[in-house]
């Protein structure tokens, strides 16, 4: 009897244990993978060394560097992540966070972290889940969306994608040619009401989620949480999403930007005639120059709307002409730009400065300005050294500056390796500065002898 009772107790105990195991098992299957206490603690130490300067000690995206960054660092407390494999609005899975840390986000301040070990990246990803309570709630269990493998790309899929691209409203923000210049694009804001730019589909190397077909397909299937980019997983079939992907790829290819520092001028047997416009440059090779914000002299510019300019050059027996094109989503043609302008000293940095202050001084003007493409009328001048360096224009308070391009060329042919200093020349080595301002109809020419006093010495003005 005793034995039997014991056996029954043992059975009940076993049943309870089995039930517990089943419950625990089901919890393990459905709950978010947030790692162990030890993993999160290891992640915390790494976070405080490597991440908190931008994402903040509390994970709220308010770190030391935040004032100068656009896009701003992710605020982990919102639980909203852009690059994921999970449906729109859902939390990312562990591997999604790991992937972003590993790959970084191109053309933002989030770098890739190749130096961290797999274990370290995993620990960091676990620690990041502690900032938002959503990760420990049972309701928000993420389930990755179905990402079928890629069918082959054909002209038919590109054509189909082009039609779908228009029909589904992609064109409203991303523009007809994918250049992020759609009519809605100037009005876009993120979840925190900050202005946000649509992706420039003609420059896939800048895509935050990556440039491959799979990356584009995933972004279209999941959307970017916290931004106006929606998910099309419900609205479109996978075939349709692949078709749009193929259209996007067709806009620019999957090659990189092929940046160079060399413009090769093409000889033109006919005399250069600017009235013909860009037609004369058709045969000239195109050089893509990378440009960055001017962060060397006051006022510094930390988030230029343009990352590169395309330069072509032709010459005849007497003249040389340059065609400079850039793709500026905030074309500004109303300001009074000019390198002769006295640049005010940089204002004292406000502690935790308002985002408006940080976002105001774009080279192209304020984000509310109409977007558009810019193209500078080719200018001609005396024959010169063909090794020109295009300079990003200095920035100042938004309304005072229009878009402009300055081309700096040594005033005298180089006799040694010594070049003029690359911003406005220097006192011993002057530069000829060709200056084209979209707010003016006439190009200007200056003699640059340095920027130490922040006033350019105007040589002569060519009307």
């Amino acid at each position: 009897m005793t034995f039997c009772l014991n056996r029954r107790r043992a059975c009940v105990a076993a049943l309870i244990a089995w039930l517990c195991a089943v419950t625990a098992g089901s919890v393990r299957v459905t709950a978010q993978d947030v790692g162990t206490e030890a993993q999160r603690n290891a992640g915390k130490a790494l976070y405080l060394t490597n991440c908190s300067q931008c994402h903040g000690d509390k994970g709220d995206g308010q770190g030391y560097a935040t004032v100068h960054l656009l896009p701003q660092p992710r605020n982990f407390t919102t639980g909203k992540f852009k690059v994921r494999t999970t449906p729109n609005g859902a939390l990312p899975i562990h591997q999604d966070i790991v992937n972003v840390i590993r790959r970084g986000m191109p053309y933002t301040s989030m770098p890739a972290w190749p130096t961290l070990s797999d274990q370290q990246v995993s620990d960091l990803a676990y620690y990041i889940t502690t900032f938002s309570a959503d990760f420990s709630s049972k309701e928000s269990v993420p389930k990755p969306v179905d990402l079928p493998s890629a069918p082959s790309m054909t002209t038919a899929t590109v054509e189909m994608g082009k039609k779908l691209y228009v029909d589904n409203g992609c064109v409203k923000c991303h523009g007809t040619l994918g250049r992020a210049d759609g009519p809605s694009s100037p009005t876009l804001t993120d979840e925190l009401n900050r202005p946000i730019r649509p992706a420039d589909l003609s420059q896939p190397w800048t895509f935050r989620g990556g440039p491959t077909r799979e990356d584009i397909f995933r972004t279209m299937s999941t959307g970017f949480n916290g931004t106006p980019m929606p998910s099309f997983a419900d609205a479109l079939t996978p075939e349709q999403r692949w078709a749009i992907t193929d259209f996007i790829v067709s806009l620019s290819g999957t090659d990189g930007p092929a940046y160079t520092n060399l413009v090769i001028a093409k000889y033109s047997p006919d005399a250069i005639d600017l009235a013909q416009g860009t037609k004369m440059f058709a045969a000239a090779p195109v050089a893509r120059f990378p440009i960055i914000g001017q962060i060397t002299e006051p006022v510094r510019e930390f988030h230029p709307p343009v990352t590169n300019v395309l330069v072509q050059a032709i010459y005849d027996s007497d003249n040389m002409a340059l065609l400079v094109r850039w793709h500026d989503r905030t074309a500004e043609k109303t300001g009074k730009n000019g390198p002769a302008l006295v640049v005010p000293p940089e204002e004292e940095e406000q502690e935790g400065g308002a985002p408006a202050g940080a976002g105001g001084a774009t080279a192209g003007g304020s984000p509310s300005n109409p977007f558009g493409d810019a193209e500078v009328t080719p200018g001609a001048a005396a024959p010169q050294n063909p090794f020109a360096e295009a300079e990003p224009t200095p920035a100042a308070a938004a309304s005072e500056f229009s878009d402009a391009v300055a081309v700096q060329i040594p005033s005298q042919a180089l006799t040694s390796a010594r070049k003029p200093y690359f911003i406005f020349g220097d006192s011993q080595n002057s530069v000829d500065l060709w200056f084209f301002d979209l707010a003016r109809t006439d190009p200007l020419q200056f003699l640059g002898k340095g920027s130490a006093d922040r006033v350019l010495r105007v040589g002569r003005i060519v009307a």
Binding site: T49, N50, Q53, C54, G63, Y64, A65, V67, H68, Y107, T108, S109, P111, W113, T115, P257, Y259, N261, L262, I264, P290, I291, I292, G293, I295, T296, E297, P298, F302, T307, E346, E349, F387, L414, A417, R418, K419, P420, Y421, F422, D426, N429
Partner: protein, 270 residues
């Protein structure tokens, strides 16, 4: 010496000796063998101009050897004469006569159609610093000076951490855009920079902290000519930062990368 190159060369020469190869083959084998040894046989590569000089000497030596006696002159010229006179070699002779100018022409063509390159300027990355600079309205001795906050590390560790933390803030508000999150010169703007920014953890242990102060406060424009001041985008930070902020950021750079400045070279006097 690379043993995998040396052994086959020696083996081929030995084989030719064993087979009693003709003098012409023997001379050519020596010439080619020595060229292969010079070009590929050494672990540290020899400059091509030096190889050209050596091969000139080798050619003279071989010529002297093959012409040193009547017997050898005949040995070397017999196969050549046969090649040029016998009927069965006519086709080969014509092919050779065409191939020599064609190869020369092809060589010229390849050299002329090389892609255009921008003019090169080789810069000195760490030019010698001046012994003294003037910054923040005073003279700063780069030889004898040091970061004024180092002593706090021992005397007041709490205050020292404050300086490091302030340096961290300065870095991530000013330097991170080019030098990057992990100080390795991989910031968000480097796609537009040539030369790329310095990899700090690799560089600063080789330098004195005062050298860093000079480079940070005077920036690219303050470089001597051999450093190529016109080529760098490093701002002169004395325009933006206070003196203490520069010393703080130097503390942070060493602290974050777990390195120390190069020790000052003490010159024994007496």
């Amino acid at each position: 010496m690379k043993i995998l190159v040396v052994l086959p060369v020696v083996a081929v020469l030995a084989l030719l000796r064993f087979r009693r190869a003709g003098l012409l083959t023997w001379a050519l084998a020596w010439w080619v063998g020595i060229y292969i040894l010079l070009r590929f046989g050494f672990i540290a590569p020899i400059p091509s101009s030096v190889i050209a000089i050596y091969m000139g000497i080798v050619s003279l030596a071989i010529l002297a050897y093959v012409s040193s006696s009547q017997q050898r002159r005949e040995d070397i010229s017999r196969p050549l004469v046969r090649f040029m006179t016998e009927k069965r070699f006519t086709a080969l002779l014509v092919a050779t006569a065409v191939a020599i100018p064609a190869l020369a022409a092809a060589n010229v063509y390849v050299q002329m159609s090389a892609p255009i390159q921008p003019p090169l300027f080789s810069r000195t990355i760490h030019p010698a610093s001046p012994t003294e600079i003037t910054a923040f309205d005073k003279k700063i001795d780069l030889d004898k000076g040091e970061d004024p906050f180092w002593p706090l590390e021992k005397s007041n560790p709490e205050e020292f951490r404050k300086h490091v933390e302030n340096g961290r803030q300065v870095y991530y508000r000013n330097c991170v855009f080019c030098h990057g999150d992990n100080l390795a010169g991989t910031g968000m703007f480097i796609h537009g920079l040539d030369p790329i920014p310095t990899n700090l953890p690799e560089t600063i242990p080789l330098l004195r902290d005062t050298f860093l102060f000079w480079r940070i406060s005077k920036g690219g424009p303050g470089l001597p000519e051999e450093g190529g001041p016109w080529d760098t985008a490093m701002p002169a930070w004395e325009k933006f930062l206070k003196e203490d902020e520069i010393w703080d950021v130097i503390l942070f750079l060493y602290d974050h990368s777990g390195t120390r400045p190069r020790a000052r070279e003490e010159v024994a006097t007496k």
